[in-house]
Symmetry: C2
Subunit: 248 residues, 2 copies
């Protein structure tokens, strides 16, 4: 499985991904799921992938190939992130057209989902979720985060903490805690974790990190959070069984 999330705030963008993939419980491996296609100074383009690994890898390969071959249309030439989303949707359809019937024959899940975040000169930062069908939806002030893959475990912390005016540093911290909560509750999501924080209008990735399995910083983050969370839990009053029954 996979867990990736993107957060759009008034100050910029945070994107994060785990790196665990599995085909059955006895074939667990590590694959990068956060890709940086930025052209510093002109555009920042970040892509997170989930779903069938052969499908997503093929799509990423096509995206890279078009840049390398300097095709007229590629991630570095398109004028808006919306058009980038459409273009990646076209690549998705192309791969689905090629592979889907062969995967379906053997009942293999051919689906894939992407998070696309970034900013192109002349535009605001944007965040999209792209579906297997090649279409997409966009994050907004009301819905500031999008998730793909094993998204449920890590959602409560996002729901309780984030809004569009959350600081970028806090959003990054929240993303890391969301991934850590997921890793704690589900073994199909695991390190290395990739995390990127992008400041709006900088057109350059200045903050990124990769936390490998056993990274002391990751262990420290988890220890801090478990401690603070347990303290918060201790502070909660015990259930008032009588008073509660009086409720209407």
């Amino acid at each position: 499985m996979t867990y990736c999330l993107g957060i759009l705030t008034s100050a910029g963008l945070v994107m994060a991904a785990d790196s665990r993939t599995n085909a059955g419980v006895d074939y667990v491996s590590t694959h990068q799921k956060l890709f940086d296609f930025s052209l510093p100074g002109d555009r920042v383009i970040l892509l997170c992938t989930s779903g069938n690994l052969a499908v997503t890898q093929s799509i990423v390969t096509l995206l890279k190939r078009d840049i390398k071959a300097q095709e007229a249309v590629n991630l570095h030439t398109l004028p808006s992130l919306y058009e980038v989303a459409q273009y990646i949707g076209d690549k998705t359809r192309q791969i689905q057209e090629r592979d889907r019937s062969w995967l379906e024959k053997d009942r293999i899940d051919f689906k894939c989902t992407f998070l696309l975040g970034g900013q192109i000169q002349g535009e605001e930062p944007e965040l999209y979720m792209l579906y297997s069908q090649g279409n997409c939806i966009q994050a907004s002030k009301e819905t500031t985060f999008l998730q793909i893959g094993e998204a449920k475990y890590g959602k409560p912390i996002l729901d309780r903490v984030l809004n569009f005016d959350t600081s970028l540093e806090a959003a990054a911290k929240c993303a890391l805690l969301s991934i850590d909560s997921t890793m704690k509750s589900n073994i199909s999501v695991g390190p290395p974790i990739n995390l990127v924080m992008y400041e709006a209008d900088s057109f350059k990735i200045r903050y990124e990190l990769r936390l490998d399995r056993g990274a002391p910083y990751l262990a420290q983050i988890r220890k801090f959070w478990e401690g603070y969370l347990n303290e918060a839990f201790e502070r909660m009053p015990n259930i008032d069984w009588d008073q509660s029954q009086d409720s209407p």
Copy 2:
């Protein structure tokens, strides 16, 4: 959807359930999902239900009917909770046998799952999860909680807080927060919430509550928790981008 959970600790048992059901987004209603079949002084038997409502209601009806008809074998005569689990499994198979093919024809999900918790004189408190197929698994010191229905959102708080030696009051508080987290993140789970706390060897339910939609106590619990959780979040250090990159 549904969310029910049971927690087994050294001091007893906590069971909790929401009450929202839906058949499509335009047919949302309220149905009790936590049933008390206790015989005070002799046994405590609590049952939580999830899955196809017609199936679970039929099974609960059969259980009640056998008690009322004073059948030789019923929830009040069986000598152990394990045998109670087997008996409910038999009822499940009976209903599945009757209805399954008719539901399958119209691609209606016929599955159902139960949590069964309690204690019968001469035995320790126990907690079981019963599957659609009529078989079951049991909670243990290592796996102290079991969940059915929309279980993922509410799992992180349980994973971080609970163990077999957690006090019963803390387990009840944790169950309520787990349900509240799920309600906050998923509209298919909703009030009234039923919560029962059973003290081992008391053979009587002394602590139970029902929290209706809009109950001031529920709003207060949520407000406290969001406040404490946000404080815990504030206390977390911001991400140290440089140090993290030094990690091995």
